[in-house]
């Protein structure tokens, strides 16, 4: 049950992030780059919930971009999935009250996805000018994305703690049922 609620919440977050990225922030370009909102979401959720969530969020986000703006379906999904998986390793050091670390994780993820982007879209086409790509796209994107993530990560984390409180209250109800002697196995699976 909790997993369905979580999936729905994350799906809604992905849709909002996608709309922000394609319709709102394309009008708020700085140095001709758009902050990667879907990346912020993927990296943050991977950091907060772990690899599984990161992978699935990344896959759905990438699929959305593929279906609307990609020429080949699956390229962006692949990149976002990889980033979700890698960022998921950071879950081990997750601390609900620490905001600083998230910026490094979002920045690192953005760096990683842009490197993959460079390899897939430039390097394989024969464009070897990495310096130009770094200065023109990668650094502005990383900086802008990290700046936006300062605000967005707070929202995502807040949402997450709300979600945790909700799941705790449900668990409490479960505990009451356990206490009354109903269905002990149910509770064990929930751990």
């Amino acid at each position: 049950m909790m997993i369905i609620i979580k999936a729905i919440i994350i799906l809604i977050e992905i849709i909002i992030a996608y709309l922000l990225q394609t319709s709102v922030f394309t009008e708020l370009r700085l140095a001709d780059v758009v902050p990667d909102i879907l990346m912020i979401l993927t990296a943050s959720l991977a950091y907060i919930f772990g690899k599984k969530t990161g992978i699935l969020t990344g896959f759905v986000s990438g699929m959305l971009i593929d279906c609307t703006y990609g020429s080949l379906i699956g390229l962006y999904a692949l990149m976002y999935t990889v980033v979700g998986y890698v960022a998921g390793y950071a879950h081990k050091v997750y601390d609900e009250n620490d905001y600083t670390l998230s910026f490094f994780i979002v920045g690192g993820s953005e760096f990683l996805i842009n490197l993959m982007y460079y390899i897939l879209f430039y390097f394989l086409k024969g464009d070897l000018d990495l310096g130009h790509f770094l200065v023109r796209y990668l650094f502005p994107r990383v900086i802008y994305t990290v700046l936006i993530s300062i605000i967005l990560y707070r929202l995502i984390n807040m949402n997450n703690s709300l979600f945790y409180r909700l799941s705790k209250s449900i668990k409490k109800e479960k505990r009451v049922t356990v206490f009354n002697g109903f269905n002990v196995d149910d509770d064990r699976q929930d751990i």
């Binding site: 849709i15 996608y18 709309l19 990225q21 394609t22 319709s23 709102v24 394309t26 009008e27 370009r29 001709d32 780059v33 758009v34 990667d36 879907l38 772990g50 690899k51 599984k52 992978i55 699935l56 896959f59 990438g62 959305l64 971009i65 593929d66 279906c67 609307t68 703006y69 020429s71 080949l72 379906i73 699956g74 390229l75 999904a77 692949l78 999935t81 990889v82 998986y85 998921g88 982007y117 086409k125 464009d127 130009h132 023109r136 994107r141 751990i191």
Partner: protein
């Protein structure tokens, strides 16, 4: 508990592997059979476009409000209307200028030029852009319901913007001429030498795209106009693309290349015109 934890780690790796394989499979499938997955694209588009339309309406409303104080709202509305009109008139004017030119110099050769003058056109608003921030693709708010079809030409401010590549119920995707995978067959205005206009997003940072395959003997000079040519099978002939500069020999020494300044300002594009005549419908046109 230990068993459960073990399962968890295995399954996260498993999910990862499965999804990566799925992605690679999808890439291969969509590369080999491009049309197979287009219903999925259309469905996703149909789902998001109403929301994007809403956001576009709201954000343009807000930006209007921010741009000037409310007592000048009428002026803004009038200005918007006039800007649209100017855009249409510019298109019209370009056609007339070219027609006059052609009439004077090439009456015998090109008496049917500017076919798109009388063609029906539809105005559309841009509702979303490529999420990576480049101007190579955007989505407009007109689709099948408004009679938009694939390969229709898109104009703005008297110049060529691009071509429709995907169409949904009430949206359509436009690939602009500055996109890396775009190439348009063109010709120079006074001399009729042919060339290929290729998109180049990187060069577009400086305001140029590429012109290639210019004949070595072609007499081409800076600021010559480049129009879409008669031999193109997708673009209507006689649409202004831009002005040529920096003509030099290709490294291959077989032909010349140059830069082209597009007439359209892709960065600040808000609305476009779609010509509802397809190139393949122009039968009997020579």
């Amino acid at each position: 508990m230990g068993r459960v934890k073990k399962n968890f780690t295995i399954s996260s790796k498993m999910i990862f592997t499965v999804l990566v394989i799925l992605c690679v499979a999808l890439i291969i499938v969509s590369y080999l059979f491009a049309d197979l997955l287009s219903p999925v694209k259309t469905a996703v588009g149909n789902f998001f476009v109403p929301m994007q339309k809403g956001i576009a309406t709201v954000s343009s409303g807000i930006s209007d409000k921010l741009r000037i104080f409310s007592d000048k709202q009428d002026l803004i509305e009038e200005n918007d209307r006039l800007t649209e009109e100017i855009n249409e008139l510019k298109t019209e004017m370009q056609i007339l200028i070219h027609q006059e030119y052609e009439l004077t110099w090439y009456r015998d050769l090109y008496e049917n030029d500017s076919v798109y003058q009388n063609a029906e056109k539809v105005a559309a608003r841009i509702i979303s852009r490529n999420p990576n921030g480049s101007c190579d693709m955007f989505v407009i708010d007109k689709g099948e319901e408004d009679g938009i079809k694939r390969d229709m030409n898109v104009l703005a401010g008297g110049g060529l913007v691009g071509i429709i590549t995907d169409v949904g119920k009430n949206w359509a995707k436009v690939r602009t001429i500055i996109a890396d995978d775009s190439s348009v067959s063109g010709r120079f205005q006074p001399t009729s030498d042919t060339c290929i206009v290729k998109g180049n997003l990187r060069r577009m940072d400086d305001g140029y795209i590429d012109v290639e395959m210019i004949n070595l003997n072609a007499e081409v000079y800076d600021n010559y106009e480049v129009l879409t040519s008669y031999i193109s099978d997708k673009y209507l002939p006689g649409i202004l693309i831009g002005y040529v500069t920096n003509i030099q020999k290709d490294p291959s020494e077989l032909n010349k290349r140059a830069y082209l300044t597009p007439v359209v300002d892709f960065e600040h594009l808000e609305a476009v015109l779609i010509v509802k005549t397809l190139r393949e419908d122009l039968e009997g046109f020579e």
